[in-house]
Each structure stands twice: as structure tokens, then as C-alpha cells.
């Protein structure tokens, strides 16, 4: 059947003069609206994805998770690694026509470091950072910091994007007001309709790196669209209908029931967004009973079935999730199977009940915080409710939207005073690639993220990691970290799921990882 709208569109296209070919436009539906333009101020995936279009980084990460130069020409180390000089490539220009200078990079690194978990560690190593001239950034360190270059190039939020100095001098706890960078796309500020629409246009002055690496954020970022449009469609069913009708080209993320429908469409491709899974965790409050008792935390392990949690999020297809997941993202260099035995093998609620009694659980109330508005955390909350009911604990369920949950979990008090006991979370795979980016491993009590685990042994190992110069040493420390973490349990790993994305079959060469707009083209 020739549809009326297709016919009208074809007629309109034919009536265009030959010289007025339409620009190559990609219409994309992001997972959520781009509310803020500053990927340092807010740590959200959409802000990061927008950031990679607008800003460039000194270093990138290739498909094998190796760090490769991007804006940097290279770096040198002197004085036993305590003086590191990074040299910028010549000819880099911001979208406003200004040259990229080392001073811009210095201000950007300083701002990023105050918000980034690894950056905050860097600050403890740093004596001074400055610009030797317009192209050379000099780090003067108290002692060698082997993670320095990696920290500047990892795509874990917040990413060390290089902004003009005038923007980078903004307090990191205040947002920048402009999106001016030197990345492959210019942000079209005048077209922004918050909650609905955002657009970027190809930056003709973008200078791709000569490094021929390929993969995630490394190598030349060659773009094949003149314009990228983000259309915010909050309802997944509507977005999928828009994709099926051809109104949009790419739908970033969807629930499994929608992906099943899209898979039946011959003109569409449904694929995993990332080669990495989203690691999931059950976080307990270490300050209050009963989970202030490590034996009670460990008693849960025998009944945890990672497959149950992952199936609830993405359905039963095994290719869409990973089990036997530890504290580092599977498929990344530090992932290992050390001490994971308690999470494997036959599961037994009876054994866990016995272990709980032996550990001294005495019917203290357990308040489970769960969300109702985010697919992954909502699904895990439902499985967790069933899990605790089967353990016959004194369960109190508190479900809310994400906005209320993130406030409520900051309450350190007992359950009787509005506190909480346990909650489930999902993170980006890049957040759990090493102890620097992995804030959920942080176990320095009140300074740690909610749950506030305290484990001097784990903290000591985390600090050792930052001093480890080579991968084999880092991997050995990662195994030790996992062994201690399985004892002290800052959280319980619940597995990892793969996020699904759907796009027109005519779009090819998508770079897997997240919503990346270079490489991808229309056939």
C-alpha cells in the first residue's frame, strides 16, 4: 500500500531543485531529556553523550580499553614520573574560532578533578598543574601517579572534557551556561527546547587525531551527518511507533517488551548498545542494624541469584545479561573471578535463613527502598522484595520515584527515624572498570556514597591501585580488592544487563559503547 504521507513526502522531494539536496540529518531519541548542558556539573549519561559531541578530550579509550591520544600529541615523564608534560596537537580550535590552549586544558582539568572520583585522588597527588606555554600542560606531582593519563581519557562520568578557560573557570558545583568546545559537532543553542528538542551541526573546523585507533572514544571522530537532532519522547511505546513509522532514525534505549515488537520489523535493527554490561548492585546501609553486621550481609549471599535480578530487567534471553559478575565490569581488564564462589552454585533460602539466625539477626526491621519510574531499578526492587520475603525477614517496603529515593537514601538514621536498610542500583559499565571510577567500592565510612561502608583493608587496596604502574600489578590488586569486598560487602553484585538500542537498518558502522555520533553513517 502506498501511504498518503509517503506519497506527499516523495512529491515534496521531487519538487526540490537538484542543488537544494536536504542536509544529512539524523533524528535520535535519547534515553531521557538533555536537561543540562554541563557534563561536569551533572553526572548523567545524556549529558556525557552530548559532551562527546561538543567537547574533545586529551585522550580517548579504544576498543580494547587502552588509552590513546586525542587532543594530545603525546606526553613525557621526567623526575621519576613526578613531572608529566602533555603536549596539545597544533591547530585545534574551539567552535567560537579561538585556539585551544594549554591554559584551557589546565582550567578544565582542575574543574573536572573536583567532581571526578579519580580526579579527587589525583588532587591528593598533585602539587601543581600549569601551562608551560600555549601547547604544554605540566603536572607536578608529589609522587608518580600511574593512573594520570588513564583518568584523562576514560569515558566514565564525569569525563575530562576540555572547555575554553572562560567556561572552565566556573565553579564545578555551578553549571556552565554555554556549550562551546572543539568536538566534531557544534551545539545549536538557539534551537534548544528543553524537554523536547536539541540539535547539533557538524563542525567544519574539527581536527581529528592522526592516531588511527578505533573503538569507543579513540581515533579520528569522523562524522557522516551534517546535523544531529535529539527528539525527546518520554513514552517508549510512542518512540517505538515513531521509529517504525520512519519519523525517527534511532531510539537509544527501550524496555524488553518494546524491543520484542521492534525486532519483528524488517527495516529495523535491535542491538546491544554497549559491549559492556550495566553492573547492578544491592547496596546496604552499613551504619544501622541489621546490615551493620558483616555476618548478616554475608548471610544473604547464598540465596542471591543474579539471573533472577537480570531476567526481571531484560527478559530471559541469556545474551542480554551476564551472571557470575563480581566487583568489576565483565570484559574489562580488571574483571576477575576471585572469591565469587558464594554467588555461584546451587542457591538456598533455607541455608541463608540459617546463616541469618547464626549471624544474630533478631527480626530488626529491614526497609527496602525501590523506584517505580526506572525500568532497571524498579525490576530489581520487585525481585528484592520477593527475595527478602522468602528469607522471612521483617521487611518494610518503601517505593517511590527516583527523585524521592535519592533524597531518602541520604538519611543515615535508623529505620524508625526514616532511614533505610537496602536498595538496588544499576551503573554504567565504564563506572566499574577500575577502583578510581568505581565509587561504590569506596569504603571510607561517612565520606563514601550512601550505604557508608567502612573497610580500612579495602581502602588500603584502593590506594595501592593508584600507585600500581602496570596492568599485571593492577590486576593483582583488583583480585585482592574483590576478595576483601566479598568479605566486607560494600554491596552485593547482582549481575549485569545489556542495554538494547534500535535503529533503521540503513544506519551502519555504529560505534558500540553509548550513543556515539561519529563513525555511524547512512547507506
Amino acid at each position: 500500500m502506498i501511504a498518503r504521507r509517503s506519497l506527499l513526502a516523495a512529491g515534496a522531494a521531487l519538487s526540490l531543485p537538484a542543488a537544494a539536496q536536504p542536509a544529512r540529518v539524523m533524528k535520535f531519541v535519547p534515553q531521557t531529556d538533555l536537561t543540562t548542558l554541563d557534563p561536569i556539573w551533572t553526572i548523567s549519561n545524556v549529558a556525557r553523550n552530548h559532551g562527546y559531541m561538543v567537547w574533545d578530550t586529551l585522550y580517548g579509550t579504544d576498543a580494547q580499553y587502552r588509552i590513546r591520544p586525542q587532543m594530545a600529541e603525546g606526553h613525557t615523564e621526567e623526575d621519576d614520573g613526578r613531572r608529566v608534560t602533555v603536549t596539545l596537537r597544533a591547530g585545534l580550535k574551539f567552535h567560537d574560532g579561538e585556539a585551544v590552549r594549554a591554559q584551557d586544558a589546565v582550567a578544565s582539568i582542575k574543574r573536572w578533578a573536583r567532581r571526578s572520583p579519580t580526579g579527587q585522588v589525583l588532587l591528593t597527588y598533585l602539587d601543581e598543574i600549569g601551562a608551560a606555554d600555549d601547547r604544554r600542560i605540566v603536572f607536578r606531582l608529589k609522587r608518580r601517579f600511574p593512573q594520570l593519563i588513564g583518568a584523562l581519557g576514560l569515558p566514565s562520568s564525569p569525563v575530562c572534557f576540555i572547555m575554553p578557560e572562560r567556561l572552565a573557570n566556573t565553579d564545578p558545583f555551578q553549571p556552565v551556561r554555554e556549550a562551546v568546545g572543539s568536538g566534531p559537532y557544534r551545539f545549536m543553542h538557539s534551537e534548544l527546547r528543553s524537554g523536547s528538542f536539541a540539535a547539533w551541526e557538524r563542525y567544519a573546523g574539527y581536527s581529528p587525531t592522526p592516531d588511527n585507533a578505533t573503538g569507543l572514544t579513540a581515533g579520528p571522530k569522523l562524522v557522516h551527518f551534517d546535523r544531529i537532532e535529539w527528539h525527546t519522547i518520554p513514552d517508549a511505546a510512542t518512540a517505538s511507533a515513531a521509529l517504525m513509522s520512519g519519523e525517527i532514525d534511532w531510539f537509544e534505549q527501550m524496555p524488553p517488551e518494546v524491543s520484542t515488537q521492534l525486532e519483528r520489523q524488517r527495516q529495523l535493527v535491535v542491538d546491544v548498545m554497549d559491549t559492556l554490561v550495566f553492573p547492578c548492585s544491592m547496596r546496604m546501609n552499613h551504619l544501622q542494624p541489621p546490615f551493620d553486621n558483616p555476618a548478616i550481609r554475608r548471610a544473604l549471599l547464598g540465596a542471591i541469584n543474579q539471573e533472577d535480578f537480570m531476567t526481571a530487567i531484560v527478559g530471559p534471553t541469556p545474551a542480554r545479561f551476564a551472571t557470575d559478575v563480581g566487583f568489576f565490569t565483565p570484559g574489562t581488564p580488571l574483571a576477575n573471578d576471585e572469591a565469587l564462589a558464594p554467588l555461584k552454585g546451587p542457591r538456598s533460602f533455607e541455608a541463608s535463613k540459617r546463616a541469618l539466625r547464626e549471624a544474630g539477626y533478631n527480626g530488626e526491621p529491614i526497609r527496602l527502598l525501590g523506584t517505580t519510574d526506572i525500568i532497571s531499578t524498579s525490576a530489581m526492587a520487585q525481585v528484592a522484595i520477593d527475595f527478602f520475603r522468602k528469607l522471612d525477614v521483617n521487611l518494610d517496603i518503601a517505593l517511590s520515584d527516583w527523585g524521592a529515593l535519592v533524597q531518602r537514601r541520604n538519611n543515615r538514621g535508623p529505620v524508625a527515624q526514616g532511614g533505610w536498610s537496602v536498595s538496588c542500583f544499576a551503573n554504567s559499565g565504564m563506572d566499574f572498570v577500575n577502583p578510581g571510577t568505581h565509587n561504590s567500592l569506596r569504603s571510607d565510612g561517612n565520606a563514601a556514597t550512601p550505604g557508608w561502608p567502612s573497610s580500612p583493608a579495602l581502602e588500603a587496596l584502593r590506594m595501592q591501585f593508584f600507585d600500581a604502574p602496570e596492568l599485571p600489578q593492577q590486576q593483582a590488586i583488583a583480585r585482592d580488592i574483590q576478595r576483601v569486598a566479598m568479605q566486607d560487602l560494600p554491596y552485593i553484585p547482582l549481575g549485569g544487563y545489556r542495554s538494547l538500542t534500535a535503529h533503521k537498518r540503513s544506519l551502519v558502522d555504529r560505534v558500540k559503547g553509548f550513543a556515539i555520533f561519529w563513525g555511524i553513517k547512512r547507506t
Partner: protein
């Protein structure tokens, strides 16, 4: 009459003040923390606290309320916590789609529901009456989002007559504007049509029993004139009242309809702001909706005098 309108307009001031106090206080005690949402789930408590301070959310209730009221009195609704755009700018960006949707729905609903109600009353007890009432029950019972999905499936996906989602501004042309709004207006209008049709039928049934209608029939006045000139005018007051009350239904329904059809209107702005705890935006939009509702009520009161000359203020 003029003095009455002035009095009513002035009376909106204390109403709006109460609404402002109520909205601000509710948001103050409601759970949720925009600073924690901004900081992300890997943030440390210190990061969250720094952001809360930078947003001024750590200040006492009275200080924040006083500052907000002072700004409102100066025409400043504040700045969105997340987008950093002035709330007035965000409302201006979103008002056209919502206004378009509501006006089109209103026109559609009144032009369908009133004749339906009149015909149902005229053909009281027949299959036509039962069909109209059946439709009214359906309109009340089926949620807006279900109607929306069904319409999108049939007219956008299967027949490809209309777009699935989105909004085209009126300045881009009447037909592109209309094309995007037809399905949402039908979806949103269902419950409104049902409400107006039922009230029209009930009121018309009552009016058609009156002596003056019998007299008109006896004088040989045509059926159409009896229904639309004599009966409907006298049934208009309750119908207009229901249309006015129904504005609240429309505002509530617009929130759902805008989400289903991805229309960037005030309804979606409200939902997004609530989910993010973007307090200045929530306060601004709720205040605006309250003001519109007060104005609609005033308009309805004024319209009474047109339909019933006995009403005097």
C-alpha cells in the same frame, strides 16, 4: 457588570496567594532532593551538600518563600534548577502546544458533544439515544492513553495518514499544525465529549418537557428551531458550567496526552519538573494553571448573563 468583573479579578489575588503558599509548602515538605538528582548515584554526600548549597536549598523555609514571593511580585518566576532557563521562558516555549491542544479539543468536543446530546434527547429511548449514551460510557471508561495508543496505531502506523508524535508550530502552517494535533485532540476529547453530551442530553430532556416547548410545537414551529433555538438556549447554563468545570479535566488530561504524543507542552513540563524536583518550574506552572482556572470560572460566570438575561451581577 463591569464592576463585577473588576471585583472578581481582584478576588483572584487572595486566591492566588493561598495557592502560592499551598504549592510552596507542599513542595517543601514533599520528599525529593534536586541536588541528589543532579549529583548522580555515585556522588558522595559532600558533593550533594555542595550542590544543595549552591542552589540555595539549604536556606530556611521562610527565607526561600519570602524571596520567591518577592520575585513573583516583580514578575520573576525564578530559574529552573536543571536547565538554568528562566521559568517564564520555559512556559513561553511550552504554552503554544498546550493552548493549541486545549482549544482544538474544546472546539472538537463542543461541536460533537452538544449536537450528540441534543439528538439523544430528541430521540429519547431509541437506538440513537442508546448509541450516544453507550459512547458516553465508553468515553468515560477508557483512559486517555489507551485511546491515544489505539488512534496512533490505526491512523499513524497502519494507515500512515497522520504522524505518531510531535508538534509543529502554528507559524509553520495551519495544516502541519493541525496534522500533529488531530489524534491528540480526539484522544483528549473523548472524556470531555462524553461529559458534555450526557449533561446536554439530561438538560435538554428536562427543557423539552416544558410548557413553552409544547406551545411552540402546537404553533407549528419546526423541530430544528425548537431544538436549537428554543430548547438549547434554555439548556445552555448547565452545559456552559460543565464546559468550564471540564477545563480542569482538560488540563489533567493534557499531561497524559502530551506524554503519549510527545507534544512539548506545559503538561509534560509539569511531569518532568515533578520527577526531577525542579521546584521553581513546578511552582510556576501550578500557579499558572490555577490562574487560568480562576479566569475560566470568571468567563463562565460572565457567559451566564448572555444565555440567561435574568442573571444579573
Amino acid at each position: 457588570m463591569f464592576a463585577y468583573i473588576i471585583r472578581r479579578v481582584l478576588a483572584t489575588i487572595p486566591v492566588m496567594a493561598v495557592v502560592a503558599l499551598f504549592v510552596f509548602s507542599l513542595l517543601y515538605i514533599a520528599p525529593g532532593d534536586p541536588a541528589a538528582v543532579i549529583a548522580g548515584d555515585q556522588a558522595t554526600p559532600a558533593d550533594v551538600e555542595r550542590i544543595r548549597e549552591s542552589l540555595g536549598l539549604d536556606r530556611p523555609y521562610l527565607v526561600r518563600f519570602g524571596e520567591w514571593v518577592w520575585n513573583i511580585l516583580n514578575g520573576d518566576m525564578g530559574v529552573s534548577i536543571f536547565t538554568n532557563l528562566p521559568v517564564t521562558t520555559m512556559i513561553k516555549q511550552r504554552i503554544e502546544p498546550t493552548l493549541s491542544l486545549m482549544v482544538l479539543t474544546l472546539i472538537l468536543a463542543v461541536s460533537i458533544a452538544v449536537p450528540m446530546g441534543v439528538v439523544a434527547a430528541w430521540k429519547h429511548g431509541t437506538w440513537i439515544d442508546r448509541c450516544v449514551m453507550g459512547f458516553a460510557v465508553l468515553g468515560f471508561s477508557v483512559p486517555v492513553f489507551v485511546v491515544g495508543y489505539v488512534l496512533a496505531y490505526i491512523f499513524a502506523l497502519e494507515l500512515d495518514w497522520l504522524p505518531v508524535q510531535g508538534y509543529t508550530a502554528f507559524k509553520e502552517g495551519f495544516f502541519p499544525w493541525l496534522e500533529n494535533l488531530v489524534l491528540p485532540a480526539i484522544a483528549l476529547g473523548g472524556v470531555y465529549i462524553a461529559l458534555i453530551a450526557r449533561i446536554t442530553r439530561a438538560t435538554m430532556l428536562e427543557v423539552l418537557q416544558q410548557d413553552y416547548i409544547r406551545t411552540a410545537r402546537a404553533k407549528g414551529v419546526g423541530q430544528r428551531s425548537i431544538l436549537f433555538l428554543h430548547a438549547l438556549k434554555n439548556a445552555a447554563v448547565p452545559i456552559v458550567t460543565v464546559i468550564g468545570i471540564g477545563m480542569a479535566l482538560l488540563i489533567g488530561g493534557a499531561v497524559v496526552t502530551e506524554s503519549v504524543f510527545a507534544i512539548p507542552g506545559l503538561g509534560r513540563l509539569t511531569v518532568d519538573a515533578i520527577l526531577r524536583r525542579d521546584y521553581p518550574v513546578i511552582q510556576g506552572v501550578v500557579l499558572l494553571f490555577s490562574f487560568v482556572y480562576v479566569l475560566v470560572n470568571l468567563l463562565i460566570d460572565v457567559l451566564y448573563t448572555l444565555f440567561d438575561p435574568r442573571i444579573r451581577y
